[in-house]
Symmetry: C2
Subunit: 260 residues, 2 copies
């Protein structure tokens, strides 16, 4: 597969900077589990001694991994390996609760509630991936994946409908997992069952209308406008490990973005 | 008005850090025009001498302003005062051109074209602001503002409809400006005519349907779904200097967000 991961490029490209090579080596410690999520990494001068590099080079390498979202600095405490995404963040696109302000109103400045919606697995089956999806996962033609249909509930109402594709055989353990054991969040499950840490996701939002099946499952009228969030989620190595389509009522969509 | 600007708080709150106070003083140099947009700021040790502070304190203060988006570091070149927003960025929410991929398709990875749509001023008049809008601008009850209606064209089609409110008397020069002299971008005009540099904006996206007037102006059917972008734009001091509602065809909406 084409590897768009800047760290991978940094580690392999000729003429790459010294700190880029160190960054790639530090990343391997995270990927290999030598440095665990949530744990502090060794002191900068310890690393400088280990790699035989100047302190400034180590600091630049760490800055790259902070930029990449693999490490985070905590003021006065040190540098830590970031925990993976929890997956709850799809809710940042929607505001379903009754206390939501009217769209365009001046009054609101509060964040939408990031409650975790209850998950209902509608189906989970292995299937052949189409060519684009296989390529996205770094797999060849004819590769198989897990196709999951999931409905998410909040306040006893169906709110989101999700179609999730996962690569096989990486995600094989999920195929045999009883529906009752899935829980509400996918990413912790990918961690515990498949050893995959999702650390970054790209979401793209577009709009369309619900088809009859989707509308029925969401208890909305046929042809109702919906927000469609297309997600590609990536593991620590920068490989795509999930493709997800999420549909929800367009009129519940609310998203805030800052530009500088 | 309630001042939510962290730098303002940093400069006035009791017990604030030394670097926070320095950051506020550096910000005043930018606001006062002593340091101009696009220009390099003095060397860190020059500033350390000027303020009688340790180099580390100056660096922390600069880091605060980089974080705030007022300064930017350019690798190997120095630290520069950032130019204000140009205002063209509303286009990042839409993809109007014929070459846009189908929503949810795997194929696209390209950025939407950031072409500047042609602007047509439909009306511009002074009016009393409602209480919420006046408070947003830091003005008292009964304050007046400029209410502007603008239509934006791309590929000879009307694409966006904008309602813009600006505070008076700050923006008085625009009231007398002939429509032909507005140009396509508002923020450069706010700079040249009113001395206002927009350096940050908060956009909120929701969805609704077009009313009859809006639909007519956008040449879309009455009741057609639209994306509504609500913008609050802020000047260098952190004061709100623009409130804008932008409507565009929901089916042309396309927005990408990364999560880490």
């Amino acid at each position: 597969m084409p590897d768009n991961d800047p760290l991978h490029r940094a580690a392999t490209a000729p003429g790459v900077s010294r700190y880029g090579r160190i960054a790639a080596q530090l990343q391997r410690k995270i990927v290999a589990g030598e440095w665990l999520p949530g744990a502090a990494i060794p002191a900068e001068n310890t690393l400088a001694a280990e790699f035989g590099m100047a302190l400034g080079t180590i600091r630049q390498a760490i800055a790259v991994l902070v930029q990449e979202g693999l490490l985070e600095r905590v003021q006065g405490k040190g540098t830590f390996v970031r925990n993976g995404l929890t997956g709850a963040s799809m809710m940042r696109f929607f505001r379903f609760r009754a206390d939501a302000g009217a769209p365009g109103s001046l009054a609101t400045g509060t964040e939408p509630g990031l409650a975790i919606p209850r998950s209902e697995i509608l189906s989970c089956r292995a299937a052949r991936l189409d060519q684009g999806m296989a390529a996205l996962f770094g797999l060849g033609a004819g590769a198989r994946g897990l196709a999951i249909s999931r409905r998410r509930w909040l306040d006893d109402k169906p709110r989101l409908l999700e179609s999730i594709w996962l690569p096989l055989p990486r995600c094989e353990p999920l195929q045999r997992l009883p529906k009752a054991e899935w829980g509400d969040l996918l990413y912790p499950l990918l961690g515990s069952q498949c050893g995959i840490t999702i650390h970054r996701a790209e979401d793209e939002v577009t709009f369309r209308t619900l088809d009859t099946d989707e509308a029925g499952l969401l208890e909305l009228p046929d042809g109702h406008p919906c927000a469609l969030v297309t997600r590609r989620a990536y593991d620590l190595q920068g490989h795509c490990a999930e493709y997800r389509l999420t549909r929800g009522d367009a009129y519940a969509f609310r998203y805030q973005a800052d530009i500088r």
